[in-house]
């Protein structure tokens, strides 16, 4: 495959950012992921699709370091990644959102998004205890970065609202803001549009495209809405029962017989 190319809408897709090689994940005797390999290239929007129980979320959890595969290697930015805890993965520049929103309900929107900056904040306990000086400077710098994200996702008005009071669609957006605040190299979105109506989906799609376009963030997403997936993504991985059954551009995948069988079912003789 060539190293970098320009898509039809003028974005540049770079070299391989993350490479999953022969990943196998077992829970007890159950194989959730069976020997799957695929790569994610810099700047692209990569979708992972498949029927329920195909192992998509498990795959995302492997990438974010929450599950550790029994076999296979994860390569990130040209180096093999050792087994690491999720917080170290986050520090490497991988941020994510969750299928069932995982916001900090006891905090305001602002604090939630500020939490996304934790990997960028370095001052020690003593400096923070005094507050003035380094700690305050750092707080203000990061606050400025966070305010840019808040403007970008158009959630200025709810800045100080406790997250618990927000409606579902806005919570999803705040979660995206928190992930973006980390300025990730790779952004993982687990069903970003689940449970949304058409309008909210359109909004969310626009934000995803804008993030990719303006910040150049690489995005890997899981989504059930085929229309959205086909419109948004550059390349698609299709999973079924833990196996990879298709990989390629939306058009290639659409024509793949195995994929059609997995989605529509096939008569067994």
């Amino acid at each position: 495959m060539k190293d970098s190319y320009v898509t039809s809408d003028g974005r540049t897709i770079g070299g391989v950012l993350m490479d999953m090689r022969g990943i196998t994940l077992r829970f007890g005797g159950v194989e959730a992921i069976k020997n799957i390999s695929f790569d994610i290239r810099e700047g692209e929007i990569r979708a992972i699709i498949g029927p329920n129980g195909a192992g998509k979320s498990s795959m995302l959890n492997v990438i974010s370091g929450f599950y550790h595969p029994q076999e296979g290697e994860v390569w990130f930015r040209g180096a093999k990644r050792p087994t690491m805890r999720p917080y170290d993965v986050a520090r490497q520049g991988i941020a994510r959102t969750f299928q069932n929103i995982a916001l900090f309900e006891g905090m305001s929107v602002l604090d939630n998004v500020m939490c996304g900056r934790l990997t960028h904040m370095k001052t020690g306990v003593f400096s923070q205890a005094i507050w003035h000086g380094a700690a305050q400077r750092e707080e203000v710098e990061n606050r400025e970065a966070v305010e840019r994200i808040i403007d970008f996702l158009e959630i200025q008005a709810i800045r100080k609202t406790p997250v618990g009071r927000l409606p579902y669609g806005l919570k999803k957006r705040v979660e995206l803001a928190r992930a973006l605040a980390a300025e990730p190299k790779l952004l993982l979105l687990d069903e970003p549009m689940a449970g949304m109506n058409v309008e909210e989906k359109e909004d969310m799609s626009r934000f995803i495209l804008d993030v990719n376009d303006e910040f150049g963030t690489t995005i890997a997403l899981i989504e059930h809405d085929m229309g959205v997936v086909m419109d948004l993504s550059d390349r698609v991985v299709v999973m079924d029962y833990g196996r990879k059954i298709g990989d390629g551009t939306p058009d290639e995948v659409r024509g793949n017989q195995e994929v059609i069988d997995a989605y529509l079912g096939v008569a067994h003789d």
Partner: protein
């Protein structure tokens, strides 16, 4: 009163993250501070100092400490009494071993020692969660009390097994020992409360506090945005124990003067401080003041009403007190898990818009 935020524009992010965003609150804060420092020391007498103000201030420090651990970081601890005992005994050993060093330094060192012990007992928190952890902290409570009771080195081999605070001075004024004036006791506690409250506020509004609250609200999500859970939990245990140690040190040296560990720092103390935090408000520094004040005043008020006014026997009043405290705890947990601080906050919200709530 002009309790308004309209027209009080914030032009910098510093101003937006300050402790009292409303001008009136800032004025009132300075007024309270002025009364505490400039008025009360001149009118205080022994009864007010010993029955109300000094215990109130010392318990406030302990409540702030526990609030950091439980209210902000979500780790319930029933070992507060044991950690206070560490502070007290560290204080005693330091006072007797280095009589020439200022006791202000001793108090801080006692807090530091307690922080180390607290962090050590916090280690299991990575594996054990929720009330498993709460029960596990009882191990600290029982073990520490037993340790100070049985190992004679801690009480300098005194025959009674008690520890007694020797007389020490700050700037020529006695702050410990039997000849201490009421106002001196009050002032030294007040200084520590002020400093502790400011430190706690700064820690909880910044990075540290966000890490703690992230762990409290959803530890898995916290880990995935880059919080190291062990580090966050241990730092909460350490900081919390630091405050609790300071309160234990003051409780022994300034307030009681002589301490028998099982009596002063038993499990009842752990519950008392936990109740202060619940009633005052989980996750609120102001709540720590409110809760400590409430539970220090309640027995005094009941005694004044029950024993002095109505002439009931003291034991009945004591039982009634248990019933009332228990009922209050349940009431607050059912009606208002954020405690007195939330009532205060709601009142302020209303006041901010009064008289036109829409």
């Amino acid at each position: 009163m002009f309790y308004r935020e309209a027209g009080d524009f914030k032009t910098s992010y510093e101003a937006d993250s300050q402790t009292f965003p409303i001008k009136f609150d800032r004025y009132r804060f300075w007024a309270v501070l002025a009364v505490a420092y400039l008025v009360i020391p001149f009118i205080i007498n022994d009864y007010w100092a010993n029955a109300i103000l000094v215990p109130f201030l010392i318990y406030t420090i302990a409540a702030i400490g526990l609030n950091i651990l439980t209210g902000y970081c979500g780790q319930v601890s029933l070992g507060t009494g044991g950690f206070m005992a560490v502070g007290a005994y560290a204080m005693y050993k330091l006072m007797t071993a280095f009589p020439d060093v200022s006791i202000m330094i001793h108090v801080i060192l006692a807090g530091g020692i307690t922080a180390v012990v607290g962090a050590a007992f916090g280690l299991p928190s990575l594996r054990i969660k929720g009330f498993y952890l709460a029960v596990a902290t009882l191990a600290a409570q029982f073990f520490l009390v037993w340790l100070f009771n049985k190992v004679a080195w801690f009480y300098n081999y005194s025959a009674s097994g008690q520890i007694n605070a020797p007389e020490r001075f700050v700037g020529g004024i006695a702050v410990t020992g039997p000849n201490t004036d009421a106002w001196a006791k009050y002032m030294i506690c007040l200084v520590f409360v002020t400093v502790c409250a400011i430190i706690a506020r700064n820690l909880t509004r910044g990075t540290m506090g966000r890490k703690w609250m992230a762990i409290r609200d959803m530890d898995i999500a916290a880990e995935i945005i880059g919080v190291n859970p062990l580090q966050a939990k241990l730092s909460a245990f350490a900081v919390s124990s630091f405050f609790i140690g300071i309160s234990g040190a003051l409780f022994f040296s300034v307030y009681l003067g002589a301490v028998e560990v099982g009596e002063a720092f038993g499990i009842q103390k752990s519950f008392l401080v936990l109740f202060m935090v619940i009633i005052g408000g989980l996750g609120s520094i102001f709540g720590s003041f409110a809760g400590a004040g409430f539970l220090v005043l309640l027995p005094v008020a009941l005694k004044v009403i029950g024993v002095d006014l109505l002439g009931w026997p003291t034991d009945i009043v004591a039982h009634l007190q248990l019933v009332i405290i228990g009922a209050l705890i349940m009431f607050f947990l059912i009606k208002e898990p954020h405690g007195l601080a939330q009532f205060w906050r709601v009142a302020k919200e209303k006041l901010r818009l009064w008289p036109f709530p829409y």
